[in-house]
Amino acid sequence: MNRHVLSVLVENHSGVLSRIAGLFSRRGYNIDSLSVGETENPNISRMTITVSGDDYMLEQMKKQLNKLINVIKVVELQPEKSVYRELVLLKVKADLTHRAAIIETINIFRGNIIDVSNETLTVELTGDFGKIAGFTELMAPFGILELVRTGFTGLQRGNTQLAE
């Protein structure tokens, strides 16, 4: 089972998201993460969908997505030719004994502290799969109290555009 990132341009209508989510569950495919937002053209939204599956599944997912009338374009982002980011907000236990060590780690990962209390720090961090996994692993021993991720977004590098 490999992880794949699909970038999907869709018409910006209500109901499109439920169609896409429904398509995946109905066909027994798992969405690992999904992020959606309007593009530079307000009539079009872009979804970044990360999925796990073999080649057959991936092929089917692409074809079934393409079949939806509101889907304009589907491409698979190739890791070496794309940039991926995800935003994570993470609240970690941070009493005085550990605070300095935690802040040091945050700085190494170029995270930002966006909220502080006596007992906790809340951090924002952006990065790709590896960076976020690495960071959460290092925070785990201190005690992660809450964590929220936006899901991956991505674009192809360089001059390539996923035009309509």
Partner: protein, 537 residues
């Protein structure tokens, strides 16, 4: 213009002559506009039948079938009919009323999220939020329903929106950025396919309902005859090639002819055209011996490679691609292969007939001989369906309708009604079991009201025959909930609805009665008493 008038005007632009439906509060503005239009409305007795009748009408005419219902229960009653059409790629436009837009999401009286509910089995659907969008949406809906791989499209219209006033302007064309079906086959792929074909000793074509959707029967016949390739078909592909063609082999699949399945396995090149290679069609076969080349032609790219690995995929319209094939192909040396096939067909075991009951296979064979070449036969689901599929011969302009994909009981009577209303001069026969008939019995009322001359052929085995057979094979004949021993007097029911009828118990009686029925002006109900142990195959 009132939005409801605009809907009707848009439907007229789409050349809609007939709508099957059932009214209710949330669709009344639409009905009020329909009242004064030239479009005929057929009041069915259950919304499910509205969808099935529209589907029968669509299959008979090759046009988009239209049906309508009110919000909530009206809309949900349509669901089985919509799913049936979706599975068989039948073009439908379904118009449902919805509660007032201000009330949507508040669980008010007769509210149901029909766009949400039908999302998995419509090709596309719309919840109209702005009355001004209606003409554009209707134009798009007809385009989507009838182009590419056909299918049902639903338009849900809140009652307040139907009452608004709009500026009417019917669009001339559609532009849906994400929907551009491919019609021409890729020339390189076609060439590759023909090269493979040339090298083949035992080529075979397997066709499905896609040939009928694409109206490509003539092109199929031309290609098969020119290249000398035998043809098998799926249940939905019945009628794609007339059964009297020398290249006609038979039906494949779990209920197909065993020799057809055998031929599929023996062929070295299989050209699959307009079929999704459904599980029922491949049951009983081990497809894909290593030496077999598979060429898969379909208008829906998602079908190619879904259920079977392909050597050469070709996406496009079957009619165009068959023409491309015919233009470039050479005649193959298939005499030995054809001879083998014909021998296999002949050794096919011939049935003894049982004198005390009607033998459905004999009956349908007989019907084949006496009915004209324009007749339409709609078969329900169950044993009756497969008796008809295997024994009613399709030649000339005959047509065979059935619910192949979803396998919906109660389909055949309303579908026959749709076909008859489309072509009042044609012979239309409904074949049905005692279970299925009781799922749409109320449509006898529609037949009565519209004075439809339909022949209903009921095979009464007092059983849910097909399910009983499954219990025979897989559950050690432990029959449960499959007997219908207390059936009513069906002939009396038919008579109560103004249809003359007769119960027949022998082959001879059947033959006499059907000949009378075929010349009757009133329609006819024939109940054939069938031995409950009579098998499907």
């Amino acid at each position: 213009m009132r939005a409801s008038d605009a809907i009707i005007k848009s439907l007229e632009e789409e050349k809609v002559h007939m709508i099957f439906g059932y009214p209710g509060g949330a669709i009344l503005p639409f009905y009020d506009s329909l009242r004064t239009s030239n479009i005929e409305h057929i009041l069915v007795r259950h919304e499910q039948s509205a969808a099935h009748s529209a589907s029968g009408y669509a299959r008979a005419t090759g046009k988009v079938g239209v049906c309508t219902a009110t919000s909530g229960p009206g809309a949900t009653n349509l669901i089985t009919g919509i799913a049936t059409a979706y599975m068989d790629s039948i073009p439908l436009v379904i118009i449902t009323g919805q509660v007032d837009s201000n009330f949507i999401g508040k669980d008010v009286f007769q509210e149901a999220d029909i766009t949400g509910a039908t999302e998995p089995f419509t090709k596309h659907n719309y919840l109209v939020k702005n009355a001004q969008d209606l003409p554009k949406i209707i134009k798009e809906a007809f385009y989507i329903a009838s182009s590419g791989r056909p299918g049902p499209v639903l338009i849900d219209i809140p009652v307040d929106i139907q009452k608004e006033h709009i500026k009417y302007d019917y669009p001339k064309s559609v532009n849906i950025p994400g929907y551009k079906p491919t019609y021409e086959g890729h020339a390189g792929q076609v060439k590759r396919a023909l090269q493979k074909l040339k090298a083949s000793q035992k080529p075979l074509i397997c066709v499905g309902g896609g040939i009928i959707c694409a109206k490509a029967s003539k092109e199929l016949k031309d290609f098969a005859e020119k290249a000398k390739i035998p043809v098998v078909h799926t249940l939905m592909g019945i009628g794609a090639l007339p059964s009297d063609s020398p290249y006609y082999v038979g039906m494949v699949g779990s209920h197909g002819h065993s020799f057809s399945n055998q031929i599929v396995m023996e062929s070295d090149l299989l050209m699959i055209i307009g079929t999704r290679v459904g599980d029922r069609a491949t049951a009983g076969m081990k497809l894909l011996n290593e030496k077999q080349n598979i060429i898969h032609v379909d208008i829906d790219p998602a079908e190619v490679g879904k259920n079977i690995d392909t050597t050469i995929p070709i996406v496009g319209d079957a009619k165009n691609i068959l023409k491309q094939f015919s233009n470039k192909c050479t005649t193959l040396q298939t005499d030995a292969w054809m001879e083998k096939i014909n021998q296999l067909k002949e050794t096919y075991h011939k049935e003894e007939l049982d004198a005390s009951h009607v033998n459905p296979k004999k009956a349908l064979n007989f019907l084949s001989k006496v009915v004209d070449d324009e007749a339409i036969l709609a078969a329900d689901v169950g044993q009756n369906q497969l008796w008809a599929a295997r024994n009613f011969k399709i030649k000339g302009n005959r047509k065979f309708f059935t619910s192949g994909g979803l396998g919906t009981m109660g389909y055949s009577l309303p579908a026959a009604i749709g076909a008859k209303l489309a072509f009042p001069e044609k012979t239309v026969i409904c074949v049905v079991g005692d279970g299925g008939l009781q799922m749409s019995l109320s449509e006898l009322g529609t037949i009565l009201e519209n004075d439809l001359n339909i022949i209903i052929l009921l095979f009464n085995n007092s059983r849910l025959g097909m399910v009983r057979e499954l219990q025979d094979i897989h559950y050690e004949s432990n029959y449960f909930s499959v007997t219908l021993n207390k059936n009513p007097d069906f002939v009396k029911i038919a008579e109560a609805y103004g249809l003359p009828g007769k119960k027949v118990t022998s082959q001879k009686e059947f033959e006499e009665t059907i000949q009378g029925a075929l010349t009757s002006k009133k329609g006819y109900f024939i109940e054939c008493v069938v031995d409950s142990d009579f098998s499907t195959l």
